[in-house]
Structures are given as C-alpha cells and as structure tokens.
C-alpha cells in the first residue's frame, strides 16, 4: 500500500533556489506589465472606435440594426476587458509567490489560504450563454 508524500517532509529550498525563483517572478512581472501595456493600448483604440459608432447611432434606423452593427466591437471590447482582469489576477498571484518566497515555507501556508479568486473561469468564449433558473 502506498501513501501520498508528506509535504512537511519535503526539503527546504536553498537560498540560491529562492533567489532564482524570485528572479523569475520579477521577470514574469515585467512581462506582465508589457502585456498590460498592450491591453491598455487595445482599450484606447477600441474606445475610440466605439465612440465613433456611438456617434453614428443617432442615424441608425433601429436598435436591433445598431446592436448588430456594433456586436463585433463589443465582443472585442469584452475580450480585452476579460484579458485585462486576468492579467491583474496573475499579477496578484505573482505577488503572493513573491511574498511566500520572502517569508519562507514556514509562514507561507496562511498566505496560500488567501488564494485570490480567479475572475475568469471559462475555457472557451461561450458568447451569450444564458440560463434562467
């Protein structure tokens, strides 16, 4: 009969390993900042496009036509927004890893229990999924 490994029996990380992990976390943060910059740029472009469409809305024949015309922009806007939320969430998780590495494994458990809830749960873009209870 086999037993699962006891996590408390795992060897402690050496200072050099901790330093390497922290270096990787710092690099991941820099790369995430780059991604967030791109997402912000996408936001700026999308909002400008969206405002143009809002301006055209005055001349639209009816709401259904207008909404159909703007659907693609709105989808792009929402995907940008979801991506940004995910980037913010990953930054929080990296901060948590950094905290755990700073304090060491003995104090890390309470931090891990405060695991931030992921704002994005779906694996696919389930556009317009609706369920009435």
């Amino acid at each position: 009969m086999t037993h699962p490994p006891d996590p408390s029996a795992a060897p402690a990380l050496t200072p050099s390993v901790v330093a390497k992990v922290r270096e990787q976390v710092a690099q991941a943060n820099r790369e995430l900042d780059l991604l967030r910059g791109l997402l912000h740029d996408a936001f700026e472009q999308l909002i400008a496009h969206f405002m143009q469409e809002q301006g055209r809305a005055v001349a639209a024949v009816d709401a259904d036509t207008l909404l159909a015309e703007t659907a693609h922009t709105m989808s792009a806007f929402q995907v940008q927004d979801i991506s940004d939320q995910m980037a913010v969430h990953i930054a929080k998780r990296l901060k948590l890893i950094e905290l755990v590495m700073q304090r060491g494994s003995a104090e890390s458990e309470s931090e891990l229990f405060a695991d931030p809830a992921c704002p994005v749960a779906g694996k696919t873009l389930d556009f317009g999924s609706v369920e009435l209870f």
Partner: protein, 120 residues
C-alpha cells in the same frame, strides 16, 4: 420606462451594457460593486439588475443575498452577468436568489432578448 441597474467593477463592461440597453429603450443606472449597488438602491425600485460576480468590497452573490432580505427587492429579477460559468457557482447564485445566469462576453442582441423576456 423600465430602469435597469448594472453592477460591475469594470467601467468598460458597464459602458457596453449601458450602451446596449439604452438603445433598446431602457433607462440604465450603474454601480461599481455590491456596496455601491446597495447605496444606489436605497429608496428606489428598478425593473431588473445585471450583476457581476467578482467585484471588490462585495461580490455579486453576496449582493443578491442582501437584496433578497429586503421587502423592496425580494422579487426584483436579478441576472448574474459574469465570466464565471462553473455549475457550482451557478448553483450558489441560484440558492442566493438570482433569476438567471449569463456568461460574458455577452452578445448584445441576446442580452436585449433575455431582458425583454424577464421584464415582460
């Protein structure tokens, strides 16, 4: 005219929802999280609420629970509009008293369709 409250910490998401519903003929008011929604709903009725789940200070399901304790909003339709799509989370929403569950990103025409269906 029916008034709809949209509750979401994302300004761009509120913008999308408000744009969609205003052009479908509804008045839209906005709140940035659950606590802000409770503040804005003091002493006023709305026809329907669209509520995000993951928000700072007070999340969507907690907001639904709070609203269902009040006489004024005990029966107001509340649709969750969220990226969350797990069955367990939907079940929590249903138990809290939500009327339905919509997954982001939403399709504008479908959103209007479901709002019309729920408001009647």
């Amino acid at each position: 005219m029916h008034t709809i409250l949209t509750v979401d910490d994302s300004a761009s998401m509120r913008l999308m929802v408000a744009f969609t519903l205003k052009h479908a003929g509804y008045e839209v008011i906005e709140a940035v999280d659950g606590l802000d929604a409770l503040e804005r709903l003091k002493g006023r009725d709305v026809s329907l609420m669209l509520v995000d789940q993951n928000m700072p200070r007070m999340d969507g399901i907690s907001l639904v629970k709070e609203l269902r304790k009040t006489e004024r909003h005990r029966a107001t339709p509340i649709l969750m509009l969220t990226t969350e799509s797990s069955d367990s989370m939907k079940q929590q929403g249903r138990s809290a008293g939500a009327t339905g569950w919509l997954v982001k990103p939403f399709d504008p025409a479908k959103l209007v369709g479901i709002v019309r269906k729920v408001i009647g």
